[in-house]
């Protein structure tokens, strides 16, 4: 390996690492707020990428049907509950978010031909279709189990992952898609050529991280989420409802996932099941951070990206073996450094 190859691999690793870092932040957030280990994170990556690709291919993205379907189910469940608990005033809001919003999205998709939109508008529309799925999934799968143990929530998360992968196959088919690069520019920096897309990915990831940071540090909702993560009961006593915090954190996780998918869609061919391994690599980062520290998680994720790209050079067939085997010592280290508290079921 010479320096040029090393730089090339480094660039590759940084690009993937940036994506893993974004995902690891979402995983830490969701776990801290809801105690859910969010295995289906990767599906949002795939859905984001494939939705954008569908627009560009002039097709109706399958996520639209998913949004409508999930909306109907959530509306049914929530309306029943609102009637049962004698709060019919809530129905308007429920119908608005879960039926009217998806219908409006469908209208845009069918009437306005998003295939002709500029890229930015396509991205926004793709996010508008995928992101609401986050809180809907929280409502259906996790909210009824808010008091369950982390292990039960983990098994549910795995079940949601399975269901979403199957739905991904149903709605997007088995073929993969790749979107054109955001920019064809490339920059020559002495030894190495940096592609415009790399800069996009790294830049957009950084921007999103800054925005998230500002959200958590500057807004009362961001602070409310952090408060729930630190002390659930304390937060409830302030009137911060666990359900609200859960929905909000799933919304953010879905946003981060779908956005990451849109960023990598031009770099790699995305299949309906591609997201899983990407999400798990974000996980390795999150675990390095003990599912608690955002900066350590992000750093860990970038490390995973670099490790992956360098191991693909040395032993390409074993790159997954290497990455996933390395989780184990990290897990051991993490579990030795966190004080064990017996979880009584």
């Amino acid at each position: 390996m010479d320096l040029q190859i090393a730089l090339l691999l480094g660039q590759d690793g940084m690009t993937n690492g940036a994506i893993y870092a974004l995902l690891s932040l979402a995983l830490v957030l969701v776990f801290a707020v809801t105690r859910v280990i969010f295995i289906p994170q990767g599906e949002f990556v795939a859905f984001g990428a494939l939705t954008l690709a569908s627009f560009q291919a002039g097709k109706t993205p399958g996520t639209l049907w998913l949004l409508i379907g999930a909306g109907v189910v959530v509306a049914l469940v929530d309306v029943t509950q609102a009637l049962r608990s004698g709060m019919p005033r809530r129905i308007l809001r429920i119908v608005g978010w879960n039926l009217v919003y998806p219908a409006a999205a469908a209208a845009v998709v069918f009437l306005l031909k998003p295939g002709d939109f500029p890229l930015l508008a396509q991205i926004v529309l793709a996010l508008a279709l995928v992101v609401p799925l986050g809180p809907m999934i929280y409502r259906l799968a996790f909210q009824p189990l808010a008091e369950a143990s982390v292990l039960v929530l983990l098994i549910v998360a795995v079940a949601v992952h399975l269901a979403l992968v199957g739905l991904g196959l149903l709605f997007f088919g088995a073929e993969g898609s790749r979107t054109p690069a955001f920019s064809d520019a490339s920059f020559n920096l002495g030894l190495v050529t940096v592609s415009g897309q790399t800069l996009w990915v790294v830049g957009a990831s950084l921007l999103l991280i800054v925005v998230l940071f500002a959200f958590f540090e500057r807004t009362i909702y961001g602070k409310a989420l952090r408060a729930t993560a630190m002390n659930r009961t304390g937060a409830r006593l302030m009137g911060i409802s666990t359900v609200m915090a859960g929905r909000l954190s799933f919304l953010l996780a879905a946003l981060i996932g779908a956005f990451s998918g849109i960023l990598i869609a031009p770099i790699t061919t995305v299949y309906y099941d591609t997201g899983f391994l990407i999400g798990l690599k974000g996980f390795v980062g999150a675990i390095v951070g003990g599912l608690a520290s955002y900066p350590i998680a992000a750093a860990g994720a970038i490390l995973v990206g670099l490790l992956e790209s360098f191991s693909s050079f040395w032993a390409s067939a074993f790159k997954e073996v290497i990455v996933f085997t390395l989780i184990i010592p990290v897990l051991v280290w993490r579990s030795l450094t966190t004080r064990h508290v017996e979880e009584d079921e």
Binding site: K223, A224, M230, T233, G234, R236, L237, M238, G239, S241
Partner: protein
């Protein structure tokens, strides 16, 4: 207490953990602008009562009324929006957040309801607890025990509560700080907040309260005006057993 309007009423409240009944047909009343204390030895069910009033624990039977209106299975968030705030025994502070942010979140429900006056309330709260103003940027986790209790109280005040539920505010605090906390509690009463105070430190609680209940193994064993209870030998007995004869 005939002329005083009852703001919070607990009637025949029973709470069970599984098969174990922690609270057995307990009834108490808090009058508007009063301090009412529930004292009793460890494990008598005092915390259970507060948690149940607050909606953190479901009750098996009985009723909780706020201004005469029965609250069904109200959730914590609803209680907060009604103006009922609990300062729990654990304080439940947000340790990795600044004192200022802790206070800000105290006004979260008001923010949801559209109020934007948290700066002003915070100034008022700082008047009561000047020490917190000095520590505004400091993480709550770095505060001393007494300061934490003050922050917990201050944070609850940020919600402009009508009824304040205090769970063992003196727990684990040095005597000097206990005195300061009780001074604040007495001041709060003057500003019109109704307070339900749960305490193990019976003497301090009885000195500040208008009316008192003694809870013993889940039941109200004794009640009366606090100046009468303060010298009642039965109180000592319930704490120290039969040997209370001195």
């Amino acid at each position: 207490m005939a002329e005083i309007k009852t703001i919070l009423e607990v009637e025949d409240l029973c709470v069970s953990y599984g098969k174990v009944e922690a609270l057995h047909h307990a009834s108490i009343k808090v009058g508007e602008g009063q301090i009412v204390t529930v004292i009793g030895p460890n494990g008598a069910g005092k915390t259970t009562m507060l948690c149940s009033i607050m909606g953190l624990l479901p009750h098996t039977s009985g009723a909780i009324r706020f201004l005469g209106q029965k609250l069904g299975d109200a959730e914590v968030e609803q209680m907060v929006s009604l103006g009922i705030n609990l300062v729990p025994e654990s304080r439940a502070l947000f340790g990795e957040m600044s004192v200022g942010d802790n206070l800000l979140l105290g006004a979260f429900m008001r923010h949801l309801a559209g109020h934007r006056d948290h700066e002003q309330i915070m100034e008022e709260v700082f008047q009561i607890f000047p020490r917190l103003k000095e520590r505004r940027e400091q993480h709550a986790g770095t505060l001393s025990g007494g300061e934490r209790q003050m922050l917990a109280l201050a944070r609850a005040l940020m919600a402009k509560p009508k009824v304040l539920l205090l769970d063992e505010p003196s727990l684990g605090l040095a005597p000097l700080i206990v005195r300061e906390i009780f001074r604040v509690i007495a001041d709060l009463k003057k500003s019109g907040v109704s307070i339900l105070l749960v305490e193990q430190n019976a003497r301090a609680a009885l000195q500040v309260a208008d009316y008192a209940y003694v809870l013993e193994t889940g039941e109200i064993a004794l009640e009366g005006a606090s100046d009468q209870l303060i010298d009642d030998p039965k109180v000592v007995e319930s704490y120290l057993g039969l040997g209370g004869k001195r």
